[in-house]
């Protein structure tokens, strides 16, 4: 099962994990990552925009890459857009596999690529101020480790 969604609505990580394994007995491991909005430095809200069409393509391409690289039995990727408050869920990645190493690695790989390749942009709102978030060097470094040498 493969699910990719970009949506303003919240999601239910537990239900998504259930969907991934429902009726299967070959799955031994499900790793899920949930990203949440941190209320750093008095953040009031995040506003997220994305490049409709390209986002879904980029995510699907990296899900395919992950499937080539690891033995994967199911993947779910959900990314929210719009206005989000501190504590809100923002992104969800879940990978099902027979074994835990593949599930952990593929989930990390997908998160690293979502951070550095998927066309989303975050703006931070504090009072009347709005500032675009700068990309982090550490995210670029995290993605580079997956390059085939």
């Amino acid at each position: 099962m493969k699910t990719i969604r970009v949506q303003t609505a919240d999601f239910d990580g537990g239900a998504e994990c259930e969907r991934l394994v429902a009726g299967q007995t070959d799955i031994g491991a499900v790793v899920s990552f949930t990203g949440l909005v941190r209320g750093d430095d008095g953040l009031d809200a995040l506003a997220l925009e994305h490049y409709t069409g390209m986002t879904e393509r980029e995510i699907a391409r990296h899900v395919q890459q992950a499937e080539t690289r690891w033995s994967i039995l199911g993947v779910t990727v959900i990314h929210r857009i719009g206005r989000l408050a501190p504590g809100d869920r923002i992104v969800f990645v879940a990978v099902a596999s027979a074994h835990r190493a593949a599930a952990f690695e593929a989930a990390q790989y997908l998160m690293d690529y979502l951070k550095t390749r998927a066309p989303f942009w975050k703006q931070e709102h504090r009072g009347a101020d709005a500032a675009w978030v700068e990309a982090k060097e550490s995210d670029a470094d995290a993605a580079i480790r997956w390059r085939e040498s």
Binding site: Y51, M54, E58, K115, P119, A135
Partner: protein, 83 residues
Amino acid sequence: MTLLYFAWVRQKIGRGDESFALPAHVRTIAQLIEVLRDRGPNYRAAFAEPDRLRAALNQEHVRFDAPLRDEDELAFFPPVTGG
């Protein structure tokens, strides 16, 4: 061609998309940036530092030496910050 702008690129230019006739002498994204820069102060502000920009051609990440055709969809944006 279709030009798309995201995040602060969109804000500086004042619009999210537009049609643009690719000039005959423009072969690459780098060359197009030079042309767009002369379209007014909003474009000059958006394209002042090309190093801060990234581009996607027909929804794929590309470098600025990528060749262009008039039927392309070209997007300019800052480095992505999703996840």
